[in-house]
């Protein structure tokens, strides 16, 4: 499916292109050496030449991010449903959850590495941690947003708890869930990379540290480009899923 570039996208895209051109020109005009700030053209070149080197690291990072993200979805669903159906639990835990969000993940990451070693597990855990809370909080808000009158009506028709969860609670929480998922989707890659940054044997974070130490600044930048593309890709997948799962949200109103 080919899409035309809409006028809405035109503005940011041209702005980015202008910025890149400015960057390219300034490295030429002021003769900035490649080990300080490589030109965009150089970064692209490296991206292709060093790709085979980066490939296993990309796979490693993607794997950690994906597993962390998936586990975060499962865990936040379980937690959200428990909290939503037992008000006391929600009352007790909710403030704690909000407070925990003030702790920077980078300060916790080394502890997790110490506790769980240098393998894949601590990266998954860190990705899980950063993804968990946005999903949980959006789900909780979504579950709390359901119309009590609607639930009463269905109860008066003899609907049981499971029917109401499936047909009312879940669908009305979906728009909220997806706003959380979109945030978490990009966080998942970041979480995995933070984990690798603190201590790893593979992954894009590890690749960046290695490149930085050897003054391959162009490789660091190539890795950044890859990370950006991966994050955008995951974000896009979530957006596509959103459309698939909530067709009613994307319908034009009163189109008859």
């Amino acid at each position: 499916m080919r899409k035309k570039i809409s006028p809405n996208n035109l503005v940011p895209i041209s702005f980015i292109l202008i910025l890149i051109m400015f960057w390219e020109l300034s490295t030429i005009i002021w003769k900035i050496p490649g080990y300080i700030l490589p030109a965009p053209s150089g970064i692209i070149k490296t991206l292709f030449s060093a790709y085979s080197l980066m490939h296993p690291h990309i796979i490693a990072t993607l794997k950690e991010a994906f597993i962390g993200f998936s586990l975060a979805i499962i865990l936040s669903f379980i937690t959200a449903f428990i909290m939503d159906s037992i008000p006391l639990v929600k009352k007790a835990i909710y403030p704690l959850i909000i407070t925990s969000q003030t702790i920077p993940i980078i300060s916790v990451a080394p502890l997790i590495i110490i506790w769980f070693g240098y393998g894949i597990l601590p990266k998954i855990l860190i990705a899980l941690l950063v993804c968990f809370f946005p999903i949980l909080i959006s789900l909780l808000d979504g579950l709390a947003s359901t119309d009590d009158e609607l639930i009463n009506l269905l109860k008066s028709m003899g609907a049981n708890k499971i029917f109401i969860i499936k047909n009312v609670k879940l669908p009305s929480a979906l728009p909220y869930l997806f706003s959380g998922l979109k945030i978490s989707a990009s966080y998942s890659i970041m979480g995995a990379i933070i984990g690798e940054w603190v201590g790893a044997k593979e992954g894009l974070g590890y690749f960046m540290i290695l490149s930085q130490k050897s003054f391959y600044i162009d490789r660091v930048f190539s890795a950044i480009v890859v990370i950006t593309i991966l994050s955008l890709l995951i974000f896009k997948i979530v957006c596509i899923l959103e459309r698939q799962l909530m067709p009613w949200q994307f319908i034009k109103e009163n189109d008859h």
């Binding site: 109860k155 008066s156 028709m157 047909n167 067709p247 319908i251 008859h256």
Partner: protein, 261 residues
């Protein structure tokens, strides 16, 4: 035959006395309205009759059987359409059938059969957000109807519609009623609507709601919009308005508030 018979219903929420000795009778196949100011306790009475809430005292008989605190017998429609935005119109109206354990394909087949009478033909696969206000209320009414077509309670179903749509809905509803002969208990605060649609009107006082007067409407059916200008209609309307004046004077309240029921 008595479809709904409630006797001596009292209900308070804490110190707030809402219903004071309410007794109502809906004969089989009759259309009975409750006309009363907002906040007087009409919806509370419906919640009690439908079994969602318990009265402090009183009896609720449906087709002669005790239904106090038991849900699932009479269908109940609210002012809000309460359609599920994520289900198509067809699947929305199928919900009561699904809840009665009818398999989805059979439920759909049954429901589709009514789409024409309910003015929803061609909108089976549309989402509620694609319908006009009037169509949404008709869809909600079809859902109500599919839950229990013999006895229905409608709580200000047209309250949110504009005047023109509402008067079309009145004619349509009278049509549906003459076709399917349900027993209907109807809440409204619109005097014209109450007289036009009903066989009998219970006029409620302000909270705590008591029955101020029971008014029989003997205008012959089928009724059309012309009824609104007939002398019989005007006489009934005058009677209702006089009763409201009385109410207002008894309460020493300014009339404006009470007229705007």
């Amino acid at each position: 035959m008595k479809a709904i018979e409630v006797t001596g219903i009292n209900k308070s929420f804490g110190d707030l006395e809402v219903l004071d000795n309410i007794s109502i009778l809906v004969e089989k196949n009759h259309f009975v309205s409750i006309l009363g100011p907002s906040g007087c306790g009409k919806s509370t009475l419906f919640n009690i009759i439908s079994g969602l809430q318990l009265p402090d005292s009183g009896r609720i008989l449906i087709n002669g059987k005790d239904f106090k605190g038991k849900t699932g017998r009479i269908s109940y429609m609210h002012q809000k359409d309460l359609l599920l935005p994520w289900k198509t119109v067809l699947d929305n109206v199928c919900i009561p059938l699904i809840l009665k354990k009818i398999p989805l394909p059979d439920a759909r087949k049954t429901a589709v059969g009514y789409f024409k009478s309910f003015g929803l033909e061609g909108f089976e696969d549309a989402y509620p957000s694609q319908l006009s206000g009037g169509m949404r209320q008709r869809a909600a009414l079809l859902r109500t109807f599919l839950f229990a077509s013999d006895i229905m309670m409608l709580d200000e179903p047209f309250g949110a519609l504009d005047a023109i749509t509402r008067s079309k809905m009145h004619l349509w509803l009278m049509n549906i009623c003459s076709k399917y002969q349900p027993s209907v208990l109807f809440i409204t605060h619109d005097i014209d609507e109450a007289i036009l649609l009903s066989d009998k009107i219970y006029l409620f006082t302000k909270r705590p709601a008591r029955i101020k007067k029971t008014i029989g409407v003997n205008i012959p059916r089928p009724r059309s919009q012309d009824v609104l200008t007939s002398s019989q209609f005007q006489a009934l309307k005058a009677e209702v308005i006089n009763l409201l004046y009385e109410e207002a004077e008894e309460n020493g309240n300014n009339l404006g508030n009470n007229m705007s029921l």
